[in-house]
């Protein structure tokens, strides 16, 4: 009797323990599966959000480029034409005038008009999407720096190391806009007098460094302005890495690293 009873108890212990252990294992598996499903769902959501953000940014950039393009055409076709006409009229006045003093003034005005026409042409070109896409990045940067030098408030050095490789027109345009925005920030906020742009090509990447000798700023304490946010967004658009180094009183260095691999096929 005792023997049978103890057997029953042993079965109860073994069976009960097995059930408890089984429940424990089931709980662990359920938690792992639940977390994994959650993770998958979250990752999918992230990808969708990222795609949506990229598409939105792309649309914004396209709108911006269209605006730049219209502005460029307007400057070239309208204001450019008016200035050319004014220069022509000045030439007619100069020819018909016999007063030496007036001639001198007309000649100076013609020179000023020449400068205005040239500047306008440069501005128009930098805004013209098709023009930027056609030219290589070096030429576009050269033009931008030349405009800065002409203001006589800035000196600028531009160096290229390594063998340049092909960058797709769309990426080139965005890269150029990033550099343009950086230079714009330097002109507006840095209080700099000297700008250095250094482009280094290696086999599979391009490193660009834009350094100024301005006031610098505390990265931790300064909130991103619209210009810097634009640079970050554009940088993400072309899958480049963007970094900014600055301390108060020591100037600012902005670095952009663009990988080549995406463009290899396009070449």
């Amino acid at each position: 009797m005792h023997h049978q009873q103890s057997n029953e108890i042993a079965i109860a212990i073994l069976g009960g323990s097995a059930i408890f252990i089984f429940l424990g294992i089931t709980l662990i598996f359920l938690i792992i599966i639940y977390r994994r499903k959650q993770q998958e769902y979250f990752n999918q959501k992230l990808i969708l959000e990222e795609n949506f953000r990229k598409e939105l940014l792309q649309a914004q950039l396209e709108t911006q480029e269209q605006t730049f393009h219209s502005l460029s055409q307007e400057l070239h076709d309208n204001i450019g034409q008016v200035l050319s006409l004014a220069k022509l009229n000045m030439s007619v006045i100069e020819m018909n005038s016999i007063d030496t003093e007036s001639n001198e003034m007309v000649s100076q005005t013609k020179n000023l008009l020449n400068i205005a026409i040239n500047d306008l042409r440069d501005i128009s070109k930098t805004l013209n999407t098709e023009y930027v896409k056609e030219k290589d990045i070096k030429e576009s940067i050269d033009r931008e720096l030349a405009m800065l030098r002409r203001t006589r408030k800035f000196s600028a050095d531009f160096t290229i190391n390594g063998t340049p490789f092909f960058i797709k027109a769309e990426r080139r345009l965005i890269l150029y806009r990033i550099i343009q925005e950086s230079l714009n920030n330097i002109v507006k906020h840095a209080g700099a007098t000297h700008i250095v742009i250094d482009m280094s090509y290696t086999d599979n990447r391009l490193d660009i460094k834009i350094t100024d000798n301005g006031n610098g700023f505390d990265i931790e304490k300064t909130r991103d302005g619209i210009g810097l946010m634009n640079i970050k967004q554009r940088s993400a658009m072309i899958d480049s890495k963007f970094n900014i180094e600055s301390k108060p009183g020591t100037g600012t260095t902005l670095s952009i690293t663009l990988t080549r691999d995406i463009d290899i096929n396009a070449e």
Partner: protein, 208 residues
């Protein structure tokens, strides 16, 4: 006997890995190290002393193990859940007091009824941990959370030994041989929990 040596070796391995990775361990896991040091000492004590002192060692071990587990969960669980910890502790010591009141020789007898009270409390606290875990942010990686592995061990060991501890006295009195045959279940569960604790000590990474 052979299983006991493996069990002690595993305990030692746990302590060694805990010391090696001490700087990277989270506070609750550090309390677990305290628990394992205590368990190691009591196991050696139980090995060296006679039957009566062995039983006393068991009854001394369980409330102290309970206190270490309380501290472990105290630092692990959300502050709002501490009421359940105090509740568990009150239940355990009240049950212990009642058991001692019913039988004044309780602490010198060979039984594990206090182990059952502890099993119930720790199973409940472990359940609270898992409830908290499924509510954690999705980016939270459970693999490098030593507490996940610790509680996997807890959820298998403590409910798994409830019946064994609860019915041991009766079974040993009616059929001591059968009881001896069932003891490997306890050793097996002990090995399982210390393997999972070892994984916890190896995997845990304190993100500061």
């Amino acid at each position: 006997m052979f299983l006991w040596y493996i069990y002690i070796l595993l305990l030692l391995l746990n302590l060694v890995f805990a010391l090696i990775r001490w700087g990277k361990l989270r506070t609750p896991i550090k309390w677990l190290f305290g628990l394992l040091c205590w368990v190691f000492l009591i196991e050696i004590f139980r090995k060296l002393c006679d039957e009566q002192w062995k039983s006393f060692g068991t009854h001394l071990n369980i409330p102290i193990e309970m206190m270490f587990q309380f501290l472990y969960f105290y630092y692990l669980l959300n502050k709002k859940k501490r009421i359940f910890l105090y509740g568990g502790l009150t239940f355990f010591f009240t049950a212990l007091f009642v058991a001692w009141n019913v039988d004044n020789d309780f602490f010198w007898q060979k039984n594990f009824i206090d182990g059952v009270f502890m099993d119930v409390c720790i199973t409940f606290w472990t359940g609270l941990f898992f409830y908290e875990l499924i509510q954690k942010p999705i980016r939270y990686n459970i693999n490098i959370d030593g507490n996940f592995w610790v509680n996997c061990g807890n959820i298998l060991y403590y409910p798994g030994t409830i019946l064994l501890f609860g019915l041991n006295r009766y079974l040993e009195s009616v059929n001591p041989e059968l009881w001896q045959n069932l003891r490997p279940l306890n050793y097996f569960l002990n090995l399982l929990i210390y393997v999972l604790y070892l994984i916890a000590f190896i995997m845990d990474r304190n993100k500061k």
